[in-house]
């Protein structure tokens, strides 16, 4: 804990002297603030994208997991036997978590919207339905089809939502890409701050020399630069985050129909995620300037 505090000392030093000993540089200040704002804005978007893609992948994935059914149409006498046979095949199929024949009541409930209540299911040649829950990897559907054909000729494998599988993979990939983008933006921010801090340190070699002459430690000199860049980046990132937040807020949300596009808004506590962006940016700036200062001060020694 002490070392942790020690690390942040340059930020907390109460005297404002350290900031004044380095001459102000108006233009690069504005550039640094602007760049940090832009980076934070992009980060908020990448966050929204990532989280939305993740939600999508999860939802679709869950639907997929309980998506397949088997329909058995057989003469009344063979119905029970073929159902039994199909269930047996399913229990032996890798990738199937569970399989369950729907009860008559459940089948009736499914048909009710179409035929109204009071339909005597057991007296009609209604196919028997088997609900399949599969693992994330899923089963080999061709193999299952072949075996069903052999064991229960009346069974038809119905995979009506399987087409979504590549979409789920794409959503997962998009989620990953979002996080990679955030990582890249973070690294770019670090690189930008390093470049700016390096230039500023080099431009102030004379100032550093004078400070050393009067007994300034490297820590003191570094803190003047570190605080300056950390505060600039924090300011910029805060502005960028607020703008990004507002932009996401203005996205239409909620409707099921639009799917991905309308799902870009944050949901629930995810609205808190953007709050992480400015401190993260400041931390990156802090570390980058600290490293740059240490390096340049070492070279100037």
């Amino acid at each position: 804990m002490k070392r942790f505090l020690e690390f942040f000392k340059p930020l907390m030093q109460a005297d404002l002297g350290a900031d004044r000993v380095v001459p102000p540089s108006g233009f690069t200040v504005r550039l640094t603030v602007f760049t940090s704002a832009a980076m934070a804005f992009l980060t908020v978007f990448a966050l929204a994208l990532s989280l939305a893609a993740d939600r999508l992948a999860t939802n679709w994935g869950e639907e997929l997991a309980r998506s397949s059914t088997i329909r058995i149409s057989a003469p009344a006498g063979q119905m029970a036997a073929q159902t039994e046979a199909a269930l047996k095949v399913l229990t032996q199929t890798p990738g199937v978590v569970s399989a369950r024949a729907l009860t008559a009541e459940e089948q009736q409930a499914l048909l009710e919207p179409w035929f109204g209540p009071g339909l005597p299911v057991d007296q009609l040649p209604v196919p028997q339905l088997i609900e399949i829950a599969e693992t994330a990897q899923g089963y080999d559907s061709e193999g299952l089809r072949l075996r069903l054909q052999a064991e229960a000729p009346g069974a038809v494998l119905d995979e009506h939502t399987r087409w979504r599988k590549p979409l789920v993979a794409a959503a997962s990939r998009l989620n990953l890409l979002g996080w990679v983008s955030i990582l890249l933006i973070t690294a770019t921010t670090g690189a930008m701050v390093t470049l700016a801090a390096n230039a500023s340190l080099a431009a102030n070699a004379q100032v550093i020399e004078v400070l050393r002459l009067v007994g300034a430690t490297d820590g003191y000199i570094a803190s003047a630069f570190v605080r300056r860049y950390t505060l600039r980046v924090l300011t910029g990132a805060a502005v960028g985050t607020v703008l990004g937040f507002i932009a996401i807020l203005l996205m239409p949300g909620g409707s099921d129909a639009g799917g991905f596009l309308t799902g870009l808004r944050f949901q629930g506590w995810h609205w808190l995620w953007p709050a992480v962006v400015p401190p993260l940016a400041a931390l990156v700036a802090f570390a980058a300037t600290q490293a740059a200062a240490r390096r340049v001060l070492g070279e100037l020694a």
Partner: protein, 225 residues
């Protein structure tokens, strides 16, 4: 306080200083003379750790300069007031803040010491110039400001490189008196200068040793200048 043992120094080519042994005793008053380019400034830089000897050992407050980290050198500098020959300042800060810079940097500025600032400014004749920026000062004013900055921390050792190079005779006498007073208060003083008249004037006030750099070594200049 500061000790040089068989020190040699070269900027890359031939040795500029060779086999120099010297000890700066507490409370002593030294002059350092020698022709231009003989290495006076270099000698002082060795004394305050701005340069490391190419051979031999420099000890600053009983620590070998070679073994001192940059922080240790920084702390030592707070006890050594240095007047640079070319008086470097932070040009964006007014003169009084420049003079107070050692206090600011050490993080231990007390109101007392800032009271010192006013007194020092009047001693070096800079009253009313405190809010000027360093580039607005004359050469002599810069030197006086540099001297005031060297003294603000009330250092144990004062190393002054040509502190009177650009001021008139009267002002140089005034600055000399200031340094002599400080020496009487126990400060160790070393002044590098070409100005033999200044040395003569000092000898009337204080028992000063005069050292001379010639032929790359340090010699005692004797009584008759």
């Amino acid at each position: 306080m500061i000790e040089l043992n068989n020190v040699a120094y070269s900027y890359g080519g031939d040795a500029l200083l060779n086999d120099i042994s010297f000890s700066l005793a507490p409370g002593s008053f030294h002059f350092l003379t020698g022709p231009s380019g003989s290495g006076k400034t270099t000698f002082l830089k060795l004394c305050y750790g701005a340069l490391l000897p190419t051979d031999g050992d420099v000890r600053i407050f009983d620590h070998s300069a070679r073994d001192m980290g940059r922080d240790a050198v920084a702390y030592a500098r707070r006890r050594i007031g240095v007047v640079h020959q070319d008086c470097k300042f932070l040009d964006h800060l007014p003169v009084n803040e420049n003079i107070a810079l050692p206090l600011t940097v050490s993080g231990q500025a007390t109101p007392d010491q800032f009271a010192n600032l006013q007194e020092l400014m009047s001693w070096v004749g800079l009253v009313g110039r405190g809010n000027a920026l360093p580039p607005e000062l004359s050469g002599g004013e810069r030197q006086r400001a540099a001297l005031a900055r060297a003294l603000i921390m009330s250092p144990d050792v004062i190393l002054a490189d040509e502190p009177t190079g650009n001021v008139d005779w009267e002002m140089s006498q005034r600055l000399l008196r200031l340094l002599v007073e400080l020496n009487k208060m126990g400060k160790t003083v070393m002044i590098a200068t070409h100005d033999l008249a200044l040395i003569r004037a000092a000898k009337a006030q204080v028992s000063a040793r005069v050292l001379r750099i010639s032929n790359h070594t340090l010699q005692s200049a004797g009584v008759d200048l």
